[in-house]
């Protein structure tokens, strides 16, 4: 046993330890009131060997022998066939602080417990994006957030722990403490009386509601072939970002699901079926396609900030997967920004951008200009024409000779991580 992997002994709640073992199939077979509980492992609970293979969990935390007995109990559980259960289910939740558990599961063709490297990286990013999008819906319901509420969602993510992966498929586990206090408008640790604060459980419930609304919207699509369910679900937390990251999560997997195991405070008086209610949201490969359509649909904000025409040179083009609409970067010669990343309305037009990149052509593009962090984006964009020089483009648009572009945004980053 590596003691470095254990939380401090004084943070371990023996009643939680007992309850978590019971959830894992161990059976309470004896004990002494207020002193200790005795539990038998799942496979031996109903046999005489249950006592001989049992573990003793001390309850009196003030007792001088408490520490040695709780260490012995942990050592015993780690040494049983439930050692894996210890690492995945018990250790992360054994401390006194309650935490809801997210399990993002993907079933791929890779051997159990493994995932192709690039898919694993995408999966972690999609988990983060999903949690962030869901968290934002706690504060505000919005069709598309772009960069709004990014700091709040980051603060929520700061409270979350990533747990062990699990065998059987590939599972990313996240633990969201139920009682964490997340400032709505301030950085963590600077909470003053009167500040608006979100509780961890409430934010997790918002994530859950948004996922539930998404599943309902997908179901509605299956029945009607309409994205109207996504519109209707905005008031429950559906957004462009949530759909986008869920598509990332669900695509290229045979099946995938998100489970939320709600920490019930492990009240031993509750019946087992109520001890840890679980919410499950499942997605198929086909659902991923629907989510992709929904993400593009929701990206098209009916009340865009500004409609702009920009002229410039394509300096980079990227398409993550076949069938994706693709994104390209434009060094702007004429327009309100110096650089902008462009997402086309019509994916079939993407080849014009790559051709412009290859042949050093100048593009004139119209679209909805928005800011996302320090990046400028042109959404729902349309290539108006290609030409060989900025002067020609200006002339075609009836603009005067080129002038130096005005810089509205700090567009120093050319990050294509979207």
């Amino acid at each position: 046993m590596d003691p470095d992997t254990l939380p401090p002994i004084d943070q371990i709640d023996p009643m939680r330890f007992t309850a978590l073992l019971e959830q894992a199939g161990w059976r309470l077979i004896g004990g002494r009131r207020g002193l200790y509980n005795r539990l038998a492992p799942p496979s031996l609970a109903d046999t005489p060997d249950g006592v001989r293979s049992s573990i003793l969990i001390p309850l009196d935390r003030q007792a001088p022998d408490y520490s040695e007995l709780i260490r012995a109990a942990i050592h015993e559980v780690q040494g049983t066939e439930d050692g894996e259960v210890w690492h995945r289910q018990i250790l992360p939740r054994i401390v006194a602080r309650a935490a809801d558990q997210f399990q993002f599961r993907r079933q791929t063709e890779a051997p159990a417990g493994l995932i192709p490297w690039d898919q694993g990286e995408y999966m972690i990013k999609s988990v983060r994006g999903t949690l962030a999008a869901g968290a934002k819906s706690y504060i505000e319901k919005k069709r598309r957030f772009s960069n709004r509420l990014g700091q709040f969602s980051n603060r929520f993510l700061e409270t979350i722990y990533m747990g062990q992966t699990a065998v059987g498929s590939y599972i990313v586990t996240a633990y969201a403490p139920t009682d964490s206090e997340i400032p709505v408008n301030r950085s963590m640790g600077n909470i003053s009386p009167g500040d608006s604060v979100a509780r961890g459980r409430d934010v997790t419930q918002s994530v859950s509601r948004a996922l539930e609304a998404t599943v309902e919207a997908i179901d509605h699509y299956h029945r009607t072939n309409s994205l109207a369910g996504f519109d209707a679900g905005i008031e429950n937390g559906i957004s462009h970002e949530l759909s986008y990251w869920l598509e990332e999560f669900a695509s290229r997997a045979d099946e995938s699901d998100i489970r939320i195991v709600w920490d019930s405070g492990v009240d031993l008086l509750q019946p087992p079926e109520l001890a840890s209610p679980i919410s499950t949201y499942a997605f198929t490969r086909q659902d991923a396609n629907i989510l992709g359509r929904a993400a593009r649909y929701l990206a098209d904000d009916p009340t865009p900030a500004t409609h702009e025409v920009v002229i410039g040179r394509v300096h980079v083009a990227s398409k993550k997967r076949p069938g994706d609409p693709g994104v390209f970067g434009l060094e702007v010669s004429e327009g309100p920004v110096r650089k902008v990343q462009v997402r086309l309305r019509n994916a079939l037009e993407y080849h014009r951008a790559t051709r412009a990149l290859d042949q050093d052509l100048i593009l004139a593009i119209s679209g909805n200009l928005e800011r996302d962090g320090n990046q400028a984006w042109l959404y729902n964009a349309e290539i108006l024409f290609e030409t060989t020089s900025v002067a020609q483009a200006n002339a075609q648009l009836g603009l005067p000779a080129p002038v130096e572009g005005l810089e509205l945004f700090d567009d120093s980053s050319a990050d294509f991580d979207r």
Binding site: M1, L28, I29, G30, G31, R32, R33, L35, Y36, R38, V51, R52, S53, S54, L56, P58, D60, A63, P64, D65, Y66, E68, L69, R71, A72, H75, E76, G79
Partner: protein, 180 residues
Amino acid sequence: MPSQRVDAVDDRTVTAMLEQLQEGYVAAVAATAGCFVQRVGGDVNGVDAHIIRPAKSIGAEEEITLGVQLKCTTQVRPDPAKEYFSYQFSKRRSLEALTLRRSIIKVIPLIMVTSPQQRSWTKSTHEALRISHCCYWLNLEGYSITDGVQKPSVKIPTANIFDADALIDIMGRLERGEDL
């Protein structure tokens, strides 16, 4: 656990066999007293096994557990005519673990004395299995160890034979919250 000067069946395993002999002795006594014996894995502060008197019914909180540290020696042969015999711990740490104040599980040493002739440890007849020689118990909680002594000795009452009657009595005292 001393194994020197033992006339062994196999020198390589004699120490493990001494342990096994004592485990068998303790298991037999515990069975006679209606108790389970559970080995404690790893080095848990000097506790080798738990003797468990189960609850009257499964789930009832009336169980009693006694921790024991097992010691087996061929070096001494107590004289029943004398009130005490002396036993020397090979490690001070083993005795220190027994002197700790405990309130959840009391821990006592069980010191088994056996023959240096391994082949004579047991003798079976139609009537009985005889195990040589005897196991003694002692409560050392709160016992004061002389400073600087690396192999401390303790005096063990020859009257403290560890048998089923003694175990039933010990369990009864623990249940009532009495001193051992």
